[in-house]
Amino acid sequence: MWRTLRDLLRFNRQFAAGIVLLGIVAAFSCLSFFSPYPPNDSFVVPPDVPPSWAYPMGTTSRGQDLFWLLSFAIRNTLLFGMVVAILSRALALVIGLVAGYSGGLVDRALMSINDTFIVIPLFPILVLFYFVMRDHMSWGLLALMMACLGWAYDARLIRSVALSLRTREFTQTGIFSGMSTRQILVEEHLPYVLPILFSTTMNNINWSIGLEVTLSVLGFTDINTPTIGVLIYWANQHTALVAGIWWWLFFPVLLVVMTFIGLFLLAVSMNEHIDPRSRLGRS
């Protein structure tokens, strides 16, 4: 494991760039623990001050120090992405492994449902969800909802691996030596699926953060918990762009773009590592 990571860092420029970008973002989010102000206090510093030594990212029109506020926002955003990813990974793993291993009717039924979830446009459904929940909308609820909707694509990927594992000899050996289905799936098949699981995690975090930012920017989430999207929402509410307070928009967008590209590079380089054929094709 550590050796793989070291090799990836040394020989794969995409992986190294992704790690650096995410490292900066993660370090910045950890700064939130040292913030001198609680995230929701406003008018603690003079409003609309451009970036300077005292306020490295300037201050907002609501009198918040953008540097510290942003550290809270990126922490919540990252946490959101991880919660959605972990929950939906569990779903994708169970459905993908069971469908691939069982085959036949179970596989067909599960994959029909799976394809349905891939096709359905999720955004209107999430908007409908907000519309019904309104003020009761919370961060955790949205994460749960998105986890329930966001497993399908990766379940299909995992299933395709499980399909080929089923025909391998060790599976037969396992069956004949009396292992239960659960044992075979968890002890024999899971280790083969884990690398793919990691790379889909990165893509899933990207997906969920992207949707969260979009919903928040429109004001369709809990707008009192600072996330990157909520920050942009408030900047738009105060017409920061027209008022010339560019830093209020620039730094959140910069940070979230760094996150997206970082996660994406990690996913791409991991895929490449899993499938060495594409490595050979590139050189």
Binding site: I120, P121, F123, L128, T214, L218, L241, R277
Partner: protein, 334 residues
């Protein structure tokens, strides 16, 4: 039974399943929440000033009818479906008494044309460039294109649209950034009007294309670089088949099949992106309508748009699926 018929029936079945599950999700979302939407609407309406108890009772009754909350759950479920099957979502609350279907019908052509133009453009460009990049993998210009496509690909639609808005609306204002056409023009088939529609569509289409291009590009590049190593390609090269012909008829044609399937699978996500992009640029389509409906608290309009989106995307996927056998003879012969 001939292969094509089996294929057709399974696709139709899948289409019915998508619509069925999608509508059920919409039902669950609207009915299984612990919050009573009727009481919430009443609370919002009676927040200011005092309202007589009779008026509140009347309001509660009409809202219950509107939300389809009368009777037990089975009754509500049946009522929900009957409204959807007929396509009647009642009058819009915010634009009373215009029916929801009229509002959606007015917005839908804008969204559909924006989606079709940007999707076709992005898919063709991405596959063409990706195919070239996979075949001529030493070309520097194509490598640069690959890096650029990769940089934009992971960024969500909203952020890209927003960046374009800032660049072409504030920093270098050369393109219109709001609306579907100029305000003071009558909608007619004249050069001036069509020109105005096209110039208003440039930024929305560009933001959808910038995000979408990378996915097709990278997918096609990977597929082509796999196909190129096949024996029949080497054989064709040794046999002196023209390179253009090898690329078009031997390599690209075979690599294109998974990309068609990919298009069907990602239509939902592209639709999500179009909704957001419309909202950023104030484009008069479904997305802008949806957001304004939420802000106006217009329940029937929000539900109507959600349902129409699910059905419309499933129809588009079905169309692609039905075209697939024309491109891939193996499905026909099976």
């Amino acid at each position: 039974m001939p292969g094509y018929l089996v294929y057709l029936l399974t696709r139709l079945g899948q289409f019915a399943l998508v619509v069925f599950i999608g509508i059920n999700i919409a039902f669950i979302v609207t009915h299984a929440t612990p919050i009573d939407p009727v009481e919430q609407s009443i609370a919002a309406a009676t927040q200011f000033g005092s309202t007589s108890p009779e008026a509140i009772a009347l309001m509660r009754q009409s809202l219950k009818e509107l939300y389809g909350l009368e009777g037990d759950l089975a009754h509500q479920y049946a009522a929900f479906w009957s409204r959807i099957l007929v396509g009647n979502f009642g009058p819009s609350l915010s634009a009373f008494p215009t029916p929801v279907s009229v509002l959606i019908g007015r917005a839908l052509p804008w969204t559909v044309s924006l989606l079709v133009v940007s999707t076709v453009l992005t898919w063709v460009m991405g596959n063409l460039l990706g195919g070239l990049a996979g075949y001529f993998h030493r070309s520097r210009a194509l490598r640069l294109a690959g890096i650029l496509a990769m940089a934009f690909h992971p960024i969500p639609y909203y952020i890209v649209a927003f960046l374009l808005l800032i660049v072409f609306g504030h920093v270098w204002p050369i393109l219109p950034i709001s609306g579907g056409s100029s305000m003071n023009m009558t909608q007619e088939w004249s050069w001036a009007f069509v020109g105005s529609v096209v110039s208003h569509a440039i930024l929305p289409v560009a933001s959808l294309a910038l995000v979408g291009l990378g996915g097709w590009f990278m997918g096609m590049r990977a597929l082509v670089s796999n196909v190129v190593t096949e024996d029949y390609v080497t054989y064709a090269e040794l046999g002196g088949v023209a390179r253009r012909r090898i690329l078009a008829a031997y390599v690209m044609r075979n690599a294109l099949m998974p990309q068609v399937t990919g298009l069907a699978m990602s239509l939902g996500a592209i639709f999500n992106g179009a909704i957001i992009t419309e909202q950023v640029f104030g484009y008069p389509g479904i997305g802008t309508l949806l957001v304004s409906a939420v802000h106006a608290g217009d329940y029937s309009l929000v539900l109507g748009i959600t349902t129409v989106s699910i059905v419309a995307v499933s129809i588009a996927v079905l169309l692609i699926d039905l075209l697939y056998p024309l491109l891939d003879p193996r499905v026909r012969a099976r």
